[in-house]
Symmetry: C2
Subunit: 194 residues, 2 copies
DNA sequence: CAATTGACATACGGTGCGTATGTTTCTATT
DNA sequence: AATAGAAACATACGCACCGTATGTCAATTG
């Protein structure tokens, strides 16, 4: 069956995003060459600027893809947990563990904010942040949490989890740091409980 | 009085750092031109590569300077507070407010980690982080806090404060977001209390 | 079946970093 | 005190890279 034009274009976009994911993760955004990137995908820079506008646009597409994957994982995990409060804790732990992935760290947590600006302004709206806020809102509505601003709480929880992940990743012994971080995270989160 | 050789060099270093602070804050690290930077300081790129090695070295020097200023402010503020727990809260609030400075945000919080890597690994060791950890350690020793890993707790607290600041700065109405963030921060921190 | 548009490739210009090479001023040694 | 050496910076060069402008070929449309 002959692929249609739209299918062809989606394929080149996918190839470019995949190559960019690899290059951005390995070399970082600044040191990733668009020539090498596109050549690795069997294309040229022409395809890039046609599909994504510029280098930032490609990074945005990559970040979107990763972010969607993270959000999907987070919701999938949380859906198996009974109890909203446990779900929030598990979600936070999941976020910490996902943020241990070097690809996530480099692209989403380091270069992403530096190049694209505040994650909250991204079209994906930083999926994990969004799901966290929704959980917090439900918990407040059900009376489990003190009356705190949901967005602020979600922001701080995610910030705490993010820094926990960065700390663990840079740690000499991640296996030792992880439980400490999870423990501290649950303690902090318990401050929101009534 | 004739300035000595070392004094002259310190002066050029100071001039370069000052010019870099302005350029990095206004244009961001990537878009800051070394030629313009040094010309604004009345020098050339030669002085730069002699004193700081490369562009990253200059950013590191700038980050160090700002970080030291922040740590000095934080300790100065905390020293006037009686009670370690109140000091910790005030310190966190001070950190949030300092992080509202666009210069701090852009250079220390965005470009710094992206270019230089994890702040914990910086020579300044991210001053605020260090002072926070010390306060947490004292509070644990005095029995005010649950037995949590001090480094982990300091990391998460600072991460929460940092994201609070980023949220406020990107908010439509910072004046409204600030008290919400401070409230959420204090709630989270109270989770560490016995 | 012409004409036009879309999807990409190729070619070009400009900018900016890092380094290699000068140049001048201070220092040190005899 | 004179010269050798180095330090501090300026100048000059090469290279890589991004963005755009232009070209090309296939597909679609009337």
């Amino acid at each position: 069956m002959a692929r249609s034009r739209a299918e062809m274009m989606q394929e080149t976009r996918a190839k470019l995003i995949a190559a960019a994911r690899k290059a951005f993760a390995e070399k970082g955004y600044a040191d990733a060459s668009m020539d090498e990137l596109t050549a690795a995908a069997g294309l040229t820079r022409g395809a890039l600027y046609h599909n994504f506008g510029d280098k930032r646009g490609l990074l945005a597409a990559v970040v979107n893809q990763i972010d969607e994957e993270m959000a999907a994982k987070a919701t999938a995990i949380a859906s198996h947990i009974e109890g909203e409060w446990q779900a929030l804790l598990v979600q936070g732990s999941a976020y910490i563990e996902m943020a241990l992935d070097p690809e996530v760290q480099r692209i989403v947590l380091r270069d992403g904010p530096a190049v694209l600006g505040d994650p909250q302004q991204w079209p994906s709206q930083s999926g994990c942040l969004h799901t966290t806020q929704e959980t917090v809102e439900r918990l407040i509505a059900e009376g489990f949490l003190k009356p705190v601003d949901p967005e602020a709480a979600a922001r701080l929880l995610n910030g705490a989890a993010l820094n926990a992940a960065l700390w663990i990743a840079a740690s000499d012994d991640p296996g030792e740091a992880l439980p400490k971080a999870l423990d501290a995270f649950q303690l902090l989160a318990s401050g929101l409980l009534k």
